[in-house]
Symmetry: C2
Subunit: 217 residues, 2 copies
Amino acid sequence: MPRARTRISGEDRRRQIIDVALELFARQGFKGTTTRQIAQHARVNEALIFRHFPHKEALYWAVIADKCRKTRGCEELQKKLEGAEDPREVFTWLAGEVLRRNREDTGRSRLLLYSALENHRLSQRFFRTHIAGYYELLADYIRARIRDGVFRDVDPALAARGFLGMLFYHFLIQELFGGKRYHHFDPEKVGATLADIWLEGMLTANGRSARKPAQTP
Amino acid sequence: MPRARTRISGEDRRRQIIDVALELFARQGFKGTTTRQIAQHARVNEALIFRHFPHKEALYWAVIADKCRKTRGCEELQKKLEGAEDPREVFTWLAGEVLRRNREDTGRSRLLLYSALENHRLSQRFFRTHIAGYYELLADYIRARIRDGVFRDVDPALAARGFLGMLFYHFLIQELFGGKRYHHFDPEKVGATLADIWLEGMLTANGRSARKPAQTP
DNA sequence: GGGCATAGTAAGTAATCACTTACTTTAGAA
DNA sequence: TTCTAAAGTAAGTGATTACTTACTATGCCC
């Protein structure tokens, strides 16, 4: 009584295994996920996994590499930063984007955190691909605004880190620590509020008056 | 040839096992740590662990409960907030404290993150003990300053979250993602800078002039 | 100094782990 | 239609897992 299972191409099967593994690794970490589990969720024999990947760790690498590749780079941010007229618009938009992305792709953030905690060799690369680029771009933009006299003179890398920190931490508490059970926040408002605090903390009198010229007597 | 090992009281042994387990759970997570490893590090027979704890999970609970208990509560913060004259002093001090504590007790933060990711039932309680209390206190203080007209009118819970987020995220990147390999930050400066950005973002003109009366013509 | 509660251990257990081997089934080119 | 490369699987492997059992050693009180 042979299985009526459809036979698909190696490439497709490989992709499917990666997708299934991503979900499980993100939810349970590397150690917490068994190859048997992955096979069951993919509805294939466990041996098939080892046909596509020499060992579990190789599958983990493939999952992370896949996430790295799939993530559209910083082009969108770069474009927004280049064609930016008002810093407020930029940072409010960015805050919304960061929050939305974390909310929509929780798996990415969990995978990233797990790989950092479990100290996988790839976690550093994963981090560089997903975060470091973003915040170097941001730091450059901040540096330029400091030169313009729009922002106050603080360490640009630190300022960028502070901005992203506010947003990521909010996600951490809401999604990971079950914060949303006790307090529901309107995502729009969260992004706007946090961006506002940060911006008001960064803008100089000049930077402020560029938008509201009436403020300077 | 009997072991020359000293025999210590059950209570002491229990404490020792918890200490050893804490370190391993913090480094490798629950799933990543084996009872055998714990026994070897504690230099006792594995069976002894199960004399003190019915199962591995009970040991994990004990470890987390111990961390919760050992952490001195929010009294220090509360005292500081009550006897506070200048918000700047309070937040700069707090920033330094948060950074110092994370740096000195990395295990606590790792354990907290792991328990959140691994979705242990205790993680919520762990979180409440370690973070929520802090930031409710902080939110209360912020709410009072808003009423005073010292801070701008923003959601106090969100503002508190933003403040702690800046600091915790900095720790995350430096310690977990190996940020300190690429860029070393002076802890003093980090705390002062981040607190400064946040404060300047929160203070009203009134709040500012309370310290610098010359600023208002 | 003898009795005994308990600290401590050696040597297991069944289940599960990542991974292999030896085999069968199928799609598509010829 | 036949042949074959590759998709797919059943049934293992030894190592490791959390946890037990049956035992010995030791400090302490009388």
